[in-house]
Amino acid sequence: MRRLIFVLILFSLWFCGDKKTPSTTRAKILTLGESGIEYKVAEFRHLTDVVHMDGTIATILGGSVIDYNLSLADVISGDPNRIFKRKGSTVHLDYTVIDGVITAQNQDSLAMLSVYHAFEGIVEFWTEQYHFTHKEIGKFKIHFDPSFAASSDDMKLTITPRMNASYFTGLGDFLLNKTSPNERIPIKMNPAVLAHEFGHKIVDILFVQKDPDFYSTKSWQAQYKIQGINEGLADFFSWLYVQKTNLYTLSLDINSMRDRKIPVPWTMSQLRMDASLCTGRFYCEGSVLNSALYSLSKESAFTPQIVANATLRGLRKLRLDWQKYRDNDDFDYFYLLNRIVQELPAESQKTACSIFKKLFDDEVNQSGLKQACP
């Protein structure tokens, strides 16, 4: 009798639970909604393999280990063999299908679904509204919870950073760090953060044209300015997509995030006179640029699309200025601002000049702006 019960238990256990690859493309995720970031059902359009999170625009990889001792030459090379100690492997989603909707069974799975959906929306935004091609953007990799490995003769150390997301210039990939319990909505599930990182990709395509060496300069002042421009533009591009100004703080309600809420209450001269006004170093200067473009978009004669198109064209032309003046200590925001003004319709240039002069009221930029805003 005991043996019979045992065999019956074995038999019943073996056949319980049977997973099927989902035929649905709807999933319950964290995504943009009317009230900010909402947990709701959304449709995937580019995800072809839900289990392994692979699709036409991107693929998600887990367990990547980046060489901490990377040199600039390694980054510039864009060669994964020089950049990674472990290139990352295919992920495997843990999900269940409830009423025809893919539902994540754990945190990582929800994060991966949310991240992929956010990037789908961002890529569609740039291809449909600003005519970037999929070839220009390329199919990119999203490295989930990457680690950094440092080694010397007598030591090996692996660090898994948290609380950040970044764009890896050179590779054109994204690094989404492990979530910290201190994050409110995880940074990697915040569409505004992902749109910001994608903004760096837009800068990469138009300005450096995928050559990370193009950023290099002999002047640290110029380096500081170009970093600020890069961050300010990425923030503006993020706003263009999410159309909300407070989403960063939903993840981290800290000063450096609060200081990026636009429009910022300081001007460039105030900021350069008193650095304690803001905590984010070159991000703060970038926020002045972001505020200027945001304020211009809100003017009656403008739309976000008009300002964005002028900014994108101006950014492409900023390449010429940077090539000429990148080693000069007085390289500043006015080069980009002049380019943007020149790309705007003649009748609206005066409004743009007025906003730019008001926010970039320091001596160098005021003087430099005279070229496009006499």
Partner: protein, 188 residues
């Protein structure tokens, strides 16, 4: 190796007067309580650690046992592996695992009782989602397979301590988890 060391080793492995070897003179069932460290294979292809408690029942199969040293047995165990890690402030999806496993095992006694075991099981996954003020719970059953190895050491005829290591394959997710842990064993 000198002769006295050879004699000592012989005594060590063969005399219950010297060592606390497993002292079974007849087949006995046992109840075991293990505390396990579990390495769960995550969706990201890395393993996360959690702890689990396991209650196990083992009984020998006398018809399949040739001696007190070599035996075949069977057993059932129940394990709870709650996910206790806070993930973030406003998005927390916790996945608890509860398993019921059945297995066959082979023992060999040489100072310790060495066992290898294998068998199928059922896994109940309980997902507790607390996402931006939305609370949901989902459950799902799936099948698993286990294979493991254990070592037991007798304190006396009733009480033993043990260590086990086990690999668990989740058919549903196509993932292998590892667990190992120490246990207290009561023979009856």
């Amino acid at each position: 190796m000198s002769l006295n060391r050879i004699i000592l080793l012989f005594l060590f492995f063969n005399s219950s007067l010297i060592s606390a070897m497993v002292m079974e003179d007849e087949p006995k069932s046992s109840l075991r309580l293990y505390v396990n460290s579990v390495k769960i294979k995550e969706a990201t292809d890395v393993r996360s650690q959690r702890y689990g408690g396991m209650l196990m029942f083992k009984t020998p199969l006398p018809f399949a046992s040739r001696s007190t040293k070599k035996r075949v047995g069977m057993g059932l165990d129940l394990e709870a592996e709650p996910d206790l890690t806070k993930k973030s402030g406003e998005v927390n999806i916790l996945q608890d695992f509860y398993t019921l496993d059945a297995f066959l095992e082979c023992n060999y006694v040489l100072l310790f009782r060495f066992s290898v075991l294998a068998g199928p099981g059922a896994l109940l996954s309980v997902t507790r989602a607390n996402v931006v003020n939305t609370k949901e719970t989902h459950t799902e059953f799936s099948s698993i397979a286990n294979a493991g190895f254990s070592i037991d050491y007798a304190i006396d005829r009733r009480w033993e301590i043990g260590w086990q290591i086990r690999a668990r394959y989740r058919f549903h997710n196509e993932k292998v988890d590892w667990l190992h842990g120490f246990g207290l064993i009561f023979n009856f």
